[in-house]
C-alpha cells in the first residue's frame, strides 16, 4: 500500500509540475491527507506535506497573532507553527498525545500546522469535489478549495498556499518595508 502510494504520489507530482494540477489525467486520483479539528474533517494536498510530527514545545514569537504558536527547531531550520484551531477561531482544547504537527512546504517555506489528529490518506477524483458555497462575509472561504463527500463524512479541502498567503506569515516584504519606513 505504502509503496504504491509513493508511486502514485510521484506521478501526481509529475503531473502537477507539467500542468498545474494532478487531475488532468482521467481516472487519476488526487491524494489528500485528512485531519480532524473539533468535529470537522479537513484535507490538504498530500504533495504539500513534508512530514508529520508530534507536538513539542515551541518558542513564542514576540508580538505575533495568537494563532502563530511560535517556532520550533526542525533539524536546524527555524519553522513557524500555526495553530489551526486558533486560525479558524475554534474553541481551544488542551493538547493530547494525538495532537500532531503537519509540516507542509509552501512556496519554498516550511510551516507546521497544529491539528487535533491525523486521520487518513484519501483518494479523490475531480468529480468528487464540490465548490464551496459562498458564505458571504460570515466565513472567509478564500482558502477553501473544495468540499468532498467520503462515505458519511464531508471533508473540507484546504488550499494551503492561499491560507498561508492570506495569513500575515508570508506578507514578508510588505512588513519589512513598513518596518524600514518607521525606522527612517
Amino acid at each position: 500500500m505504502s509503496s504504491k502510494n509513493a508511486v502514485v504520489a510521484l506521478e501526481g507530482q509529475k503531473n502537477a509540475q507539467a500542468g498545474g494540477h494532478a487531475l488532468t489525467e482521467p481516472g487519476m486520483d488526487d491524494q489528500y491527507l485528512t485531519f480532524t479539528l473539533a468535529d470537522e474533517l479537513y484535507g490538504v494536498d498530500i504533495l504539500k506535506v513534508q512530514e508529520i510530527r508530534g507536538w513539542s514545545g515551541v518558542t513564542q514569537i514576540p508580538n505575533c497573532p495568537p494563532y502563530i504558536r511560535g517556532v520550533v527547531n526542525l533539524r536546524g531550520a527555524i519553522v513557524p507553527i500555526l495553530d489551526m484551531r486558533r486560525r479558524f477561531a475554534m474553541e481551544e482544547t488542551p493538547f493530547t498525545p494525538y495532537t500532531v504537527v503537519i509540516v507542509v512546504n509552501v512556496q519554498g517555506r516550511t510551516v507546521g500546522l497544529v491539528v487535533d489528529a491525523v486521520s487518513d490518506v484519501v483518494n479523490l477524483k475531480e468529480d468528487d469535489l464540490r465548490p464551496p458555497p459562498d458564505f458571504g462575509t460570515a466565513i472567509d472561504n478564500t482558502y477553501l478549495r473544495a468540499l468532498a463527500q467520503i462515505g458519511e463524512d464531508m471533508v473540507i479541502l484546504l488550499n494551503v498556499d492561499d491560507m498561508l498567503r492570506s495569513s500575515e506569515l508570508l506578507a514578508v516584504d510588505k512588513i519589512r518595508q513598513t518596518g524600514s519606513e518607521t525606522h527612517a
Binding site: Q60, I61, P62, G76, I78
Partner: protein
C-alpha cells in the same frame, strides 16, 4: 580541434582584475616613494596582456601592450618614470579597468579616454628622455626609419582580422607614411567580396624596436607576408644597428628567437619570485553551506553534551571524556571553517590609496593616506559590506574634514594632511578607525543646523556625543556647498545603517583643529554572536554582549513609576528608561513575580541610547550560531535572528535597537521627566 576558450574567460578576467589592482598599487607606490618593484608592475601588465591575447580579448591585449612598452622602458632606465608618466599610466589603468569590466559584463567598452590615453602612452615612448640606452636590447632607444611591407593573403578577412586595425596600430608606433598597392585587385566581375587584394608598404619613423613592430602583426603572421627593415637610425643612439628581419608565411622560428632572448633577459633581471601560496577558487555558497553544517554540528554536540551530563559519570567514564574530546574537535573545526571566510581587511583598504589621491587632487588638497593593521582578518561578507561605508567616511574626511593647504598652514599644521585607516581587534570585535587631522567637527555649527532641522530644541543642553550623532540623520549636512564629492546630506545615515546591519556600531571623537576620528566596531563574523542568555517568562533569549554595559539587581525603590505605564531606574543618580522585556514582547508570562527586585536589570546600549532592560534571570554567556528566521517566517521587530540552544529549543537573539524603537513607540517607558543624561526628544525624532 578548437578548444572552447570561453570557459576560461571568467577566470582570466578575475585574474586580470587582481593583476590590475597590483599594477595600480605598484604605480601608486612608485608615485609616492619614487621607487617600486618595477618588475612586479611589469609582470602584472604582462600577465594581463598575455592572457588577453590568448583568450581573444584583443582590445585589452592591444591596449596593455602600450602600457607594457612604457613600463619596459622604465625598467630599462631608457625612460624616466616621472610623475607625469605615472599619471598617464594610472589613466591607462582606469581604461583597462573599463575594458575588463566591459568584457566581464559582456558589453562593448565605452571608449571614453581610451584613444587619448593610448596616444599619450605612445607619446611618452616618443618624447621620454632616454637616460641611457640599454646595451641589452638591440635597437632600443633612438629614432630609426623602418620600411615595412605587409602583404596579406587574400583570405585574411576570413580569419576575423581587420587589416585596417593593424595598420592603425602600426601608425601609433610613430610617424608613418603608408602606400597601398591595388594592382592585384581584379575586375568587378571576378571580385570576391570577402577577399583582400591590397597590400601595403609603410615607412615608419619610430623609436620602437623591430620586435615591437612585429608584435603589431602578431596575430596575422600566418596569413601575411611581412618584412620589417631598419633603413636608418635618425637619432644617434649608440646601440642602434640596422637590423633586418624577414618574415614569411612560416615565421615562427624567426620570431621566437628574439622573443625567447627577451624573456630570458627578463628572467635574469627578476630575482627569485616570492614563493606563492597555493590557492583554490571555491564558490562562496559552498563555504557557506559548510559553515551551516558545522553550525549544526556545534548545536548537536551541545545536545549530546547536555544529555550525557545526566548520565552517571562513574558508570561511563569513557562517555564523558569522549564527549569532551568531541567538544574540542568541534570547536577547532568550527574555527578552521570560519577561518576560510576570513580575509585580511587590506582587500577593503586597497581601494583607498587611489581614491584619496583622486579626491584630494580634485579638491586641491594635499592628503597622504596611512593604513594600519592591513592584515587584520574578518569575514568576507563583512569586508564586502564595510567597503562602501568606509569609502564614504574617507571621502567625507577629505572633503569636509581636511582644510586647504593655506588654511592648514595658518593653523600651524603641515600643508599635507593625513588620513589614517586603522584596523585592530578588541575583544571579539574588529575596530576600524577613520582618522583625519583636519578641522574637526564644529559643535556650534552642528547645533545650529540641528535646531534648524528641528532635531534639537532650543534651550536644551546636549552632550557632545549627542550633538555629533546628529550628523547621522538623513538629510543632515553642514557643507556650505554641495560638491560632487559630498555635502548632499545623504550618506552618513546610510553609513550608520549599513554598519548597524552588520551588527556594528559607529562613534565619533573629534577635537577642533585637531581632527576627527570615526570608530567602527564590527563583529568578527556574521555567523556567530557572543551573547548573554537570559530568561524572561518561559522563554530564553540571547542579548548580544556588545550591547551590555552592566547588569544590576534592582533594589527596592530604585525603579520608580512615572505617570501611567512608564518606569525609570535610578542608576547612580541618573534616570534611565526601565523597559520590561516581557511587556515589549507581549509573550505569555510564567507565574513569576513582576517586582523589579526579583529580576535583573541589564543596562544596555544601542545607538548611544541607554535603557534598563528588565529580565527574570541571567543564564550565562554563550557563543551562538545565528539562524535566519526569515527563511520560513518574516522579520520580527526586536529580534535579529534565532539560534538553537543546547536542548534543541529555538531561542531568539535580541535586537536592542528594535526593542528601544518599539518601547518608544508604544510608550512603554516614556517618562515625561527630563533627567540630565537620558535622551528625551520627541518620539518621532528619537535618535534611533
Amino acid at each position: 580541434m578548437s578548444i572552447d576558450m570561453s570557459q576560461f574567460h571568467q577566470t582570466y578576467l578575475e585574474e586580470a582584475v587582481e593583476n590590475l589592482a597590483e599594477l595600480e598599487n605598484g604605480l601608486l607606490a612608485l608615485e609616492r616613494d619614487g621607487n617600486a618593484d618595477l618588475n612586479a608592475i611589469f609582470r602584472a601588465a604582462h600577465s594581463i596582456k598575455g592572457g588577453a591575447a590568448t583568450f581573444g580579448f584583443q582590445d585589452i591585449a592591444d591596449f596593455t601592450h602600450g602600457v607594457e612598452t612604457v613600463l619596459d622602458k622604465g625598467r630599462d632606465l631608457t625612460l624616466d618614470l616621472s610623475a607625469e608618466v605615472t599619471a598617464v599610466l594610472l589613466r591607462a589603468v582606469d581604461v583597462l579597468g573599463e575594458l575588463i569590466t566591459a568584457a566581464r559584463e559582456n558589453r562593448k567598452a565605452t571608449a571614453n579616454d581610451r584613444l587619448a590615453c593610448q596616444q599619450a602612452l605612445t607619446d611618452i615612448c616618443g618624447d621620454g628622455t632616454p637616460k641611457a640606452a640599454s646595451a641589452r636590447k638591440e635597437g632600443t632607444g633612438g629614432h630609426k626609419m623602418m620600411n615595412i611591407t605587409f602583404k596579406p593573403h587574400p583570405d585574411l578577412p576570413k580569419t576575423g582580422s581587420d587589416p585596417l586595425n593593424i595598420l592603425r596600430e602600426l601608425g601609433r608606433l610613430g610617424e608613418m607614411t603608408l602606400t597601398a598597392f591595388p594592382e592585384s585587385v581584379p575586375t568587378l566581375e571576378e571580385l570576391e567580396v570577402e577577399n583582400l587584394f591590397l597590400w601595403w608598404e609603410a615607412t615608419l619613423e619610430t623609436e620602437h624596436t623591430v620586435d615591437d613592430v612585429h608584435d603589431v602583426f602578431l596575430f596575422v603572421t600566418d596569413e601575411a607576408e611581412i618584412t620589417v627593415q631598419v633603413v636608418a637610425a635618425i637619432d644617434a643612439a649608440p646601440q642602434a644597428q640596422p637590423v633586418e628581419q624577414t618574415l614569411v608565411a612560416e615565421p615562427m622560428t624567426d620570431r621566437r628567437a628574439p622573443e625567447n632572448e627577451r624573456r630570458a633577459g627578463n628572467d635574469r633581471r627578476q630575482p627569485e619570485k616570492a614563493p606563492e601560496t597555493a590557492f583554490i577558487r571555491v564558490a562562496t555558497d559552498k563555504v557557506d553551506n559548510l559553515i551551516n553544517l558545522v553550525g549544526e554540528l556545534v548545536t548537536t554536540h551541545a545536545m549530546v553534551s547536555q544529555h550525557s551530563s545526566r548520565v552517571d559519570a562513574d558508570g561511563h567514564p569513557m562517555l564523558h571524556s569522549s564527549v569532551q574530546e568531541m567538544a574540542h574537535h568541534t570547536r577547532t573545526l568550527q574555527e578552521a571553517i570560519m577561518a576560510i571566510r576570513m580575509m585580511p581587511i587590506s582587500f577593503a583598504f586597497s581601494r583607498f590609496p587611489r581614491m584619496v589621491r583622486d579626491t584630494a587632487t580634485k579638491l586641491g588638497k594635499q592628503v597622504s593616506l596611512v593604513t594600519h593593521g592591513d592584515q587584520t582578518e574578518l569575514d568576507k561578507t563583512v569586508i564586502e559590506r564595510i567597503a562602501d561605508p568606509l569609502t564614504h567616511l574617507v571621502r567625507n574626511a577629505i572633503d569636509h574634514g581636511i582644510e586647504i593647504p593655506e588654511e592648514r598652514k595658518a593653523h600651524g599644521k603641515p600643508a599635507e594632511a593625513t588620513v589614517e585607516l586603522a584596523a585592530y581587534y578588541r575583544g571579539g570585535n574588529v575596530m576600524i578607525e577613520v582618522r583625519d587631522d583636519g578641522r574637526g567637527l564644529d559643535r556650534d555649527k552642528l547645533m545650529k543646523k540641528a535646531t534648524e532641522k528641528g532635531l534639537a530644541q532650543e534651550g536644551e543642553t546636549y552632550t557632545d556625543e549627542q550633538v555629533y550623532q546628529f550628523i547621522f540623520h538623513p538629510g543632515f549636512s553642514t557643507a556650505a556647498q554641495v560638491t560632487d564629492v559630498s555635502g548632499r546630506g545623504v550618506g552618513m545615515d546610510i553609513v550608520r545603517k549599513n554598519i548597524q546591519s552588520l551588527g556594528g556600531n559607529i562613534s565619533i571623537e573629534t577635537e577642533k583643529h585637531k581632527g576627527t576620528r570615526f570608530i567602527i566596531s564590527l563583529p568578527l563574523t556574521l555567523a556567530i554572536v557572543d551573547g548573554m542568555a537570559i530568561r524572561s517568562g518561559d522563554e530564553v533569549y540571547i542579548v548580544p554582549i556588545l550591547n551590555i554595559m552592566e547588569s544590576i539587581k534592582p533594589t527596592k525603590g530604585q525603579v520608580k513609576t512615572v505617570g501611567h505605564n512608564a518606569e525609570v531606574m535610578d542608576i547612580r543618580g541618573s534616570y534611565i528608561p526601565f523597559v520590561r522585556l516581557s511587556e515589549v514582547f507581549k509573550t505569555e508570562m510564567g507565574d513569576g513575580s513582576t517586582r523589579p527586585e526579583d529580576g535583573i536589570a541589564m543596562i544596555v546600549e544601542s545607538d548611544h541610547e541607554r535603557i534598563a532592560l528588565f529580565v527574570d534571570e541571567l543564564l550565562g554567556e554563550r557563543q551562538v550560531v545565528i539562524k535566519s528566521i526569515e527563511a520560513n517566517y518574516r522579520a520580527i521587530e526586536g529580534v535579529s535572528g534565532a539560534t538553537i540552544l543546547g536542548d534543541g529549543r529555538v531561542s531568539f537573539i535580541i535586537d536592542l535597537a528594535g526593542i528601544i524603537k518599539r518601547a518608544n513607540r508604544e510608550g512603554l517607558h516614556h517618562a515625561p521627566v527630563k533627567p540630565n543624561k537620558s535622551k528625551m526628544t520627541e518620539e518621532g525624532h528619537h535618535v534611533v
